[in-house]
């Protein structure tokens, strides 16, 4: 592995703002288990631009959360990053808005190295799925947050506490001075979620990864939390990677959408394109299964036929082909379609839109042999 850190020669901030904050290129992370190898993330690429929200959507088990863990290098011991690059524009001083930056290749760092630990929490912060479980039950909420602040900022305990109280207030928690000394199990679901957001924001990160942040809470609180996130995002110009299986949330939050299926990107593009002009059969099926006010009453909601393949037995070729309405024998099950642009910023991985699919016999020869995909 070449040197993982490439110092940047101080270009002007304006030119940099057009560069992606985080770039994920062909990321592959596999689980190695006794039963076999699970290719949880298999060649995922996307960019996160400053101040933008990228939504990653897909069914459970499609590798959304593993992607997030791979970016932060906090994968389980049984999982390994096989290849790919994750590059982050990291500030030298997270408190200084004009701080010089460097390009850090996260995938080249040791998971427990000082460098990546410095980035976690201060440059990239995580809003985990279950706010209850994200706090240890034997320490107060404040203890966790102050710990994070002390880890990343050069302040006294007293100052850290004040920062924690301020950030509590900014996420709309009333009586922050008292609440900070309570335990997570003493707080209501909404407050807990706010506390988690406060913890993520406490060190002023430029990128938030929100891993299904609203699945564990009830609907009304969900709406409030999303509103809060949107507001904070606009105020602070934070970038967010928003992981969810809820297309409605995506529509409300995201600027860009990445649709994943079995560890691969099926389609990605700007949010309005995806909702108005989805190309991939999987995305189309997902969109059809959303109930809407206009849909015919008492009509059975369409579902996607079949179920997600067993992780050890991923289908050969396009992973979606066994469930696809437009399945083409000898094409879709023969090789994997590449993620190709079909419009400005709109990418689809499907043979329906690649010119090669017109001559299937030829495709069979030209395409990358799919043998390695056989179970």
């Amino acid at each position: 592995m070449p040197s993982s850190i490439k110092p940047v020669t101080q270009p002007s901030a304006s030119s940099l703002s057009q560069e992606p904050l985080l770039r994920v290129e062909d990321l592959k992370a596999y689980f190695f288990m006794d039963e076999g190898t699970v290719r949880a993330v298999d060649g995922v690429s996307f960019d996160v631009f400053p101040g933008k929200v990228v939504g990653i959507v897909g069914e459970s088990g499609c590798g959304k959360s593993v992607t997030m863990k791979a970016i932060l290098q906090i994968l389980e011991p049984s999982a390994k990053i096989i290849s790919g690059k994750v590059t982050l524009r990291s500030r030298f001083n997270s408190l200084d808005p004009d701080s010089p930056e460097e390009l850090v290749e996260l995938t080249g760092l040791h998971p427990d190295s000082r460098k990546i630990r410095k980035i976690r929490g201060s440059e990239i912060a995580l809003i985990p799925q279950e706010p209850m479980a994200a706090f240890s039950p034997v320490y107060t909420v404040g203890n966790h947050i102050i710990e994070t602040i002390l880890l990343h900022q050069d302040v006294s305990k007293q100052e850290a506490r004040q920062i924690a109280i301020d950030v509590f207030r900014s996420v709309g928690i009333s009586m922050p001075e008292q609440r900070i000394d309570s335990y997570s199990w003493e707080l209501s679901g909404g407050l807990r979620q706010r506390a988690i957001i406060a913890m993520a924001l406490s060190c002023n990160p430029r990128l938030l990864i929100a891993d299904e942040p609203t699945t564990a809470i009830d609907v009304t609180t969900q709406a409030q939390i999303l509103k809060l996130l949107r507001k904070l995002q606009e105020e602070r110009q934070t970038s967010i990677i928003f992981i969810t299986h809820d297309l409605g949330v995506i529509a409300q939050m995201a600027d860009e959408v990445v649709v994943m299926y079995l560890g691969m990107v099926m389609e990605k593009g700007p949010v309005h394109t995806i909702f108005k002009d989805a190309k991939h059969p999987y995305t189309q099926a997902l969109l059809r299964s959303i109930p809407s006010v206009q849909s015919t009453p008492r009509l059975k909601l369409p579902t996607i036929a079949g179920s997600i393949a067993h992780p050890f037995n991923r289908p050969a070729g396009c992973p979606f082909h066994p469930r696809c309405k437009h399945f083409m024998r000898g094409v879709c099950d023969a090789s994997q379609p590449a993620l190709a642009p079909i419009a400005e910023g709109h990418f689809v991985s499907c043979f329906l839109y690649s010119s090669e699919s017109m001559s299937p016999v030829a495709t069979g020869r030209q395409a990358v042999p799919a043998t390695e995909n056989n179970p």
Binding site: R117, G121, A125, L126, P128, A134, F135, S136, Y139, T148
Partner: protein, 329 residues
């Protein structure tokens, strides 16, 4: 919290009363008493006591009274801090016990400390280095440690030391210190001898606690707050030491409740095998010889130690775990 402790403290006399009745019933239960067996021994050796002497002895020990009067008298003297007179040794029980209670406590506590010092780091290592060679080795040793009765371990060690090196690992003192008054040199001598019985007594418990610690930690290591902590930039070491270890110690604290009393009573058998001068062999002897007041007093002391152990662990647990602490205020 304070109220909770007070409640528990108030329960102690109630428990002690119940235990005293039980204990008295137990030491009373065998047919005959010390005097009858004493007379039998005397007559078999040729001499005998005349009736007047027997009556006098009976009156002295209250053996001529009905059982419940005997119990009341025993309790009365207990409350006055007198544990009565040993029938066999013809000495006050307080003296006999006082000679040995110190060593009993020292032995049990050192075994307890040994257990924790070994079990906690070993458990942490085993859990964080799962499926490594040392982890497997620990698991195997744990199984064997749990399966070996401690007197068996004592026998094996004694036999090994004796047949290989001609060493005697019994006793807590060298011969010249056995009867000597306490001095600095005697303490050093004790330290030289205590480690073998300490390991023997603590072995099974160490094996069990290591397993408990490992299992608890493995549970905790998979909790989402570990992921959350990593994502906040904590190092593995900081993370393990602050969160799961802290939580895994809770169940360990509850072990004081059963483990400390277990060590006290478990040391009894080892003490007999290894000839250690704690109250264990004294109890055994008094039980066999039907020296009922001595046996009763020692049994009550064991009960008291067990109650204290449970109390300590409950308080410690309440103090360690805020969820319990809140519930109980």
């Amino acid at each position: 919290m304070l109220r909770y402790i007070l409640q528990r403290l108030l329960l102690i006399p109630v428990l002690l009363f119940l235990f005293s009745v039980m204990v008295f019933a137990l030491v009373q239960a065998p047919p005959g008493d010390y005097l009858t067996s004493y007379i039998a021994t005397l007559s078999s050796s040729g001499s005998s006591l005349d009736q007047a002497e027997i009556e006098a002895l009976k009156a002295q020990f209250g053996l001529d009274q009905p059982v419940y009067i005997q119990y009341v008298r025993w309790i009365q003297s207990l409350l006055r801090g007198k544990l009565g007179l040993s029938l066999e040794y013809q000495r006050p029980n307080v003296e006999l016990i006082a000679e040995r209670i110190g060593l009993t406590l020292v032995l049990a506590l050192s075994a307890f400390v040994f257990t924790w010092i070994v079990a906690i780091p070993l458990g942490i290592y085993s859990a964080t280095h799962r499926n490594t060679l040392l982890d497997y080795l620990t698991t195997v040793l744990n199984y064997i440690g749990v399966a070996t009765p401690n007197f068996m371990l004592a026998l094996i060690l004694m036999w090994w030391a004796y047949s290989q090196f001609g060493l005697s690992v019994t006793g807590l003192f060298s011969r010249e210190f056995e009867q000597a008054p306490w001095s600095f040199a005697k303490v050093i001598d004790l330290l030289k001898h205590i480690w073998v019985p300490m390991i023997v007594i603590g072995m099974a418990g160490t094996a069990r606690l290591t397993r408990v610690m490992r299992a608890n930690l493995l549970d905790e290591l998979n909790k989402p707050y570990m992921t959350s902590g990593r994502a906040r930039g904590l190092s593995e070491w900081q993370l393990v030491m602050k969160y799961p270890v802290r939580l895994a110690i809770n169940p360990l604290a509850s072990t004081i409740g059963w483990y400390l009393p277990e060590i006290f009573s478990g040391s009894l058998i080892v003490a007999t095998v290894m000839n250690l001068q704690n109250i264990g062999p004294l109890l055994l002897r008094s039980l066999i010889n039907q020296d009922m007041y001595l046996a009763g007093s020692i049994l009550l002391i064991y009960c008291f130690l067990a109650i204290i152990g449970t109390l300590l662990s409950d308080i410690l647990l309440a103090w360690l775990d805020p969820r319990i602490r809140m519930e109980k205020t």
